[in-house]
């Protein structure tokens, strides 16, 4: 049962990544792209968790921790950059 569910979940997460990537490329303003990037990081955290179940390697959770940390720092950095005056109409 678990392998079937894992395949379904991989497919759903791939579709979610694709949709978030559409918003990343189309986003009319820079904050839209930042929001899409943060959602992509969140999806990748879920991907890594599912992959840890798939392979049985629990050390992959450290990767998830690092991805979540860097996504948070990237969001904070982008927001500071925007408030200090980046490109207004990207």
């Amino acid at each position: 049962m678990i392998p079937i569910v894992i395949n379904i979940v991989y497919f759903m997460l791939s579709v979610a990544l694709l949709l978030a990537f559409i918003r990343l490329t189309r986003g009319p303003s820079l904050p839209d792209r930042v929001v899409a990037l943060e959602l992509i990081a969140s999806i990748v955290v879920g991907y890594v968790g599912v992959h840890a179940i798939d392979t049985g390697v629990s050390s992959l959770l450290d990767v998830a921790i690092v991805i979540a940390l860097t996504a948070f720092l990237a969001a904070i950095g982008f927001a500071r950059f925007l408030e200090r005056g980046g490109r207004r109409n990207d």
């Binding site: 569910v5 303003s29 940390l69 969001a75 904070i76 982008f78």
Partner: protein, 137 residues
């Protein structure tokens, strides 16, 4: 039995993240997109981590999954707040159907000063500060 719990957690997490992605594509402006992506995305990641914790049934792995969940729970609202604030100050246009934007009337984006909206009304006239009572000692 534990497989069923793991399957439900994984499917729920993937469904939340898929809904977040659909929302981020379909919704019309920045705050509504953030409304879809930040909450549902964090919830999906947390459900997935719950599934990982149930699958391995090891205290070390469960502690690590719990650490990820707590970390997401702390950082996701902070990041969403900061991005929303920056996006609002950049002057991104809101959706045409926006019903209410009280911040636009009362907030000065140059000086970052927030007024209450009641400055001109009689209720806002504050009485002058009373002089200090005489010291009886």
């Amino acid at each position: 039995m534990i497989d069923l719990v793991v399957a439900i957690c994984l499917i729920a997490g993937a469904s939340f993240m898929l809904l977040a992605a659909v929302g981020i594509v379909r919704l019309p402006d920045l705050p509504t997109r953030m409304h879809a992506s930040t909450k549902a995305g964090a919830m999906g990641a947390m459900f997935t981590m719950a599934g990982v914790a149930f699958y391995f049934t090891d205290s070390v792995v469960s502690a690590r999954a719990l650490a990820i969940v707590v970390f997401i729970l702390i950082t996701s609202p902070v990041a969403a707040h900061v991005i929303g604030r920056a996006g609002y100050f950049m002057g991104t246009s809101l959706w045409d159907g926006t019903v209410k934007d009280e911040l636009r009337e009362n907030y000065d984006p140059e000086t970052h000063k927030l007024s209450s909206g009641y400055e001109g009304s009689p209720e806002s006239v504050t009485p002058p500060p009373e002089s200090d009572p005489p010291d009886d000692r």
